[in-house]
Amino acid sequence: MGKVKKSPWLLHYDASSCNGCDIEVLACLTPVYDVERFGVVSTDDPMQADILLITGGVNSQSEAVVRQLYEQMPRPKVVVAVGVCACTGGVFKDCYNIKGGVDTVIPVDVYVPGCAARPQSIIDGVIKAVEIFQKRSDEHDAYEREHRHDGQVPAETSGKGNQ
């Protein structure tokens, strides 16, 4: 049972954001906020990512991409919706092309509100996601120990929204 929470690697995806939240996500990496002090690395590679950070509401073009990115990430994984558009669709909610928040496509664990979400609240959201990540990893390990031979991974540890 490893302490995985010390090393959360982020994958940042812009579903249909106005770039306001994206700028704030990038601001987290700058010297002022320096999210790397928690071991956070922005990887850009779904194969190596633990936390999926999505900004902007999901539209019909980005839906398939969001789903594919989520499926390409190895378990355990956590999803964070950053900004009010990613949470609910925001001001674009009634647009003909917007499906709504990220949770209309994939399960979301942490919702970070704000327009644009402030770097402080994004970091808070990531820290919350890290705790969930650790919990999932422990569950995953416990399941592995019980079912060592069949090699199956429990569905319930993969992405159940708990907020």
Partner: protein, 288 residues
């Protein structure tokens, strides 16, 4: 014989810890250079531990086998070097190991890792002359390829081989995947190839790759130290200082330079290699 076995054992056990610690210091120093606090020094170990706890997804299962061979060959290279055998042989085995890394990347058919892998081949072509020159230099200076005998020489090899040393430190930037020459795989995100060579390495595979890189770094820094070491014990302390200084220099270069195109890398590296190591060879052949 017993001494060399002890060295091999030390390398096997200590190299991953030293390599990881150096990597951690690298990230900390880099962060401080950029005005950030940076991750804890032990962060690379946390990362590897986390990677071992993740679900392994691989497009092709054979990738893990290739990576395992890469790792074993790399550790074997280091063991041969620290065991005091032929340095030329060490670098031949090192090249073979790098070839298996190429296979591990190219077997997945991912466009990112395939382009990364082809760039890795260009990188090998770029640094290989300097590496072979270094071997030849050690022979010209000491009359032997055997690491055990080079260590026992009366004067440090660097007195005869300053040009070779410069060329070797120059290509170390490529071997350690540091900017400006990190074309095949980058430690930093936001490059056009996602993670290049390592795009398709996830979980355990990436952990093995990272540990192998630590072994490789310790081996390469050992070669840097070999330029300094002679039969006097004081030279060992100087060698450690020079090795740390070279590592710091690599971090500094990494943080102060932007990536170059691969043909610029090739031209620049071969020019430096031919000029510094080539002239050094001519001078050495004339005076000896």
């Amino acid at each position: 014989m017993r001494v060399s076995l002890l060295w091999i054992l030390c390398y096997l056990v200590l190299a991953p810890f030293l390599g990881g610690l150096l990597d951690g210091c690298d990230r900390k120093i880099s962060a401080r250079m950029q005005g950030r606090i940076g991750p804890p020094v032990l962060q690379p170990f946390y990362d590897v531990q986390k990677l071992f706890n993740k679900q392994t997804i691989a497009v092709r299962r054979v990738q893990a086998a290739f990576l395992l061979v890469y790792m074993i060959m790399m550790i074997f290279t280091g063991c041969m070097f620290y065991g005091g055998t032929d340095i030329l042989m060490c670098f031949f085995v090192l090249s073979t190991a790098a070839t298996f890394l190429y296979f591990a990347a190219v077997v997945t058919n991912s466009p990112y890792s395939t382009i990364g892998a082809s760039r890795e081949l260009i990188q090998m072509m770029t640094y290989e002359p300097a590496v072979l020159f270094a071997c030849v230099g050690f022979y010209l200076a000491n009359g032997t390829f055997t690491v055990g005998s080079i260590v026992q020489s009366d004067v440090s090899s660097i007195l005869y081989l300053p040009g070779f040393f410069f060329a070797f430190v120059f290509i170390l930037t490529i071997k350690m995947r540091k900017s400006p020459f990190d074309t095949s795989a980058s430690h930093h995100a936001h490059q056009e190839l996602v993670k290049g060579l390592t795009t398709e390495f996830g979980a355990k595979n990436l952990a093995f790759f990272t540990i192998t890189e630590w072994y490789e770094n310790i081996f390469l820094l050992g070669v840097v130290g070999l330029f300094i070491v002679n039969r006097h014990p004081v030279s060992w302390i100087i060698a450690v200082i020079v090795v740390l200084a070279v590592y710091f220099l690599e971090i500094l270069i990494d943080n102060t330079s932007a990536r170059v195109k691969q043909d610029t890398m090739l031209k620049l590296t071969w020019t430096v290699t031919l000029l510094s190591a080539g002239i050094n060879t001519l001078v050495l052949m004339l005076i000896r």
